[in-house]
Amino acid sequence: MSDTKERKLTIARAMAESVAQYMRKDEKVFVMGEDIGVLGGVYGNTRGLIEEFGEERIRDTPISETAFMGAAVGAAQNGMRPIVELMFVDFFGVCFDQIYNNMAKNIYFSGGNVKVPMVLMTSTGGGYSDGGQHSQCVYGTFAHLPGMKVVAPSNAYDAKGLMNAAIREDSPVVYMYHKGLQGMGWLGTERGATVNTPEEYYEVEIGKASVVREGTDVSIVSLGMGVHHALKAAAELEESGVSAEVVDLRSLVPLDRDTIRASVAKTGRLIVVDEDYHSFGVSGEVIASVVEHDISVLKAAPQRVAFPDVPIPYAKIMEQFCLPNADKIVATYKKMAA
């Protein structure tokens, strides 16, 4: 059937398509950030927008994050639906006050009188030796602080659907895309992220995880790039007769605890794969979701494959030593099953 023909997009193109389609139907949506205009975003996710919508709605900003993050909050509260980009999640420190004390709290402070319909896009992740201020994920930092929804797609289908849902959402959404999944050749390309993506409008519900591979022996729960490591590990485990289930969280806030619990109830084993730092983060929260609920389902202590609690080293040999990968997941399973 011609109407179900494959239409593979990279995450970068899926994001740009979602934004463009939304902007055509809703004049309140506009984009601002550093190098999102003529350059089309360092990671390609605003490519083509300035040509279609012009400088009024696609606004390159000065390197003034406190000002433009604050301006996004103000514009959102005043009736617009801004999409803001800051190209590296590592760069948020300077403007974090506007994010966690303003953007994330104003709905609550106002008792719901005020809406803050904004999307904050940022890149995460390393693996290409860009050093400790250009390679972090800090998923847990955003997810920890109440008042912002947090999504992190692992493929183009989810990227478009989550972006549509995020723009329509009346609360702030932090949209975290992994550089290694963007389909930008110069960062390497994870082929599994480039998938069939419908042209028509659809949404992926914020707060819904996805079981991307079914299995019965172990649940590997992850997000973003980690999902691809998990799928590779699952394929490897299958060769030794182990059936691994892979859960793609897709959203961190709200966290789909039901899907995590249902999966672990079925498999009895849990490995969380997270490129963010090991302690005080997503991996601990996922494990807590299970063990607070029902420890009787567990056949082994839950494990995590996460980035050690050190700044991200530059040298390739050290960075790769720290990053999660399929081999580490397989080795972790073997220890659990032993």
Binding site: E34, D35, G37, V38, L39, V42, D60, T61, P62, I63, S64, E65, T66, A67, D90, F91, G93, V94, G127, Y128, S129, D130, G131, G132, Q133, H134, G185, W186, L187, G188, P308, D309, V310, P311, P313, Y314, A315, K316, I317, M318, E319, Q320, F321, C322
Partner: protein, 328 residues
């Protein structure tokens, strides 16, 4: 304030070392990155921000500095590091991610720290401003004579940290010289599109400090103006803001297609290369003969080659070294 002959020749030498260094780094960077350009590959992975064209800003300022003076540099730090006297071999090893690099391979090209000459840099815009103020404060509180120089790009003048740091340095009358290297581009966004004033130097008035714009990308002019500012700082007369017009001859990073540049801009900048101009000046003024200049250039190339060879021959860190040096 005019440089001595010795200072002039030092400036030329450092400019040439810096340019030859960037050329060598660019060549090493491209190894393993063709036919497919993937930043993760080759002996020098990650982003690479070259300083070609900005050498006068480094030498004209650093000619006045001593080891105890602090420099905080940016994500584009090589020219400043070289002019400040950072150990070229250890710096190169760091850029190659080797165990004997400045940070044992933990930092990389945007995170070069050499405590011996009080040099540091950072990968985030405007981040060195506060630490430069702090270095100056420390020297003052300890009754020591060092001063601090904070280098930023013109894009960073639109950061809140710029306002806060200049005000703090002024209100505490600290020996800091704020240097803006105005290469007119913040990645793809021009100064004109990002900055409300034509010259950031006028902003100095808002902090009650002198501010000056130096046009021409000329090491001698920079030497003069920077020298006066540094003399002021050393005399306890407080901070100064200088904005130095310069040119970014390379892209923001290697691999940047620079589609945002107006046609012909790059060619015009290359035709106005500060090293070529300074070279001609030295010969025309009778400061050096063609042969003396060539000797400097040969020695510069040798120094660079030696540093690159040293880095290539050095050992990789052990993978588990990643877990050390988190705490002092």
């Amino acid at each position: 304030m005019q440089p001595t002959l010795e200072q002039k020749m030092w400036m030329y030498e450092k400019m040439v070392v810096s340019r030859r260094y960037e050329e060598a780094i660019a060549a090493a960077y491209m190894e393993g990155k063709s036919p497919v350009f993937n930043m993760a590959n080759g002996p020098v992975p990650g982003e690479m921000h070259l300083s070609n064209g900005q050498e006068p800003c480094a030498v004209g300022v650093c000619a006045h500095l001593k080891d105890e003076d602090t420099v905080t540099a940016t994500h584009r730090p090589h020219h400043q590091a070289i002019a400040k006297g950072v150990d070229l071999k250890r710096m190169t090893s760091e850029i190659f991610g080797k165990a004997n690099g400045l940070g044992g391979g933990r930092g990389g090209h945007m995170h070069l720290f050499d405590d011996d000459v009080n040099f540091a840099c950072s990968g985030i815009i405007g981040q060195g401003l506060g630490p430069a103020v702090g270095a100056a404060l420390s020297q003052t509180m300890q009754k020591k004579s060092g001063i601090a120089v904070a280098y930023i790009g013109e894009g960073a003048a639109n950061q809140g940290a710029f306002h806060e740091s200049l005000n703090l340095a002024a209100v505490w009358n600290l020996p800091v010289v704020f240097i803006i290297e105005d290469n007119s581009w913040g990645i793809s966004v021009s100064k004109q599109k990002s900055t409300a004033v034509e010259k950031n130097s006028v902003r100095a008035a808002g902090y009650g400090m002198p501010g000056e714009y130096v046009a021409g990308n000329d090491p001698l002019e920079i030497f003069k103006v920077a020298g006066e500012a540094i003399e002021r700082a050393r005399a306890g007369k407080g901070p100064t803001l200088l904005e130095l017009q310069t040119s970014r001859l390379a892209g923001h990073f290697i691999g940047d297609a620079e589609g945002y540049r107006p046609e012909g801009e790059k060619d015009a900048l290359e035709a106005d290369d500060p090293i070529t101009k300074f070279r001609s000046h030295l010969i025309e003024q009778g400061d050096a003969t063609e042969q003396e200049i060539e000797n400097i250039e040969t020695a510069a190339q040798a120094q660079v080659d030696e540093a690159i060879a040293h880095a290539r021959a050095s050992e990789d860190p052990a993978p588990e070294d990643a877990l050390t040096s988190v705490f002092a």
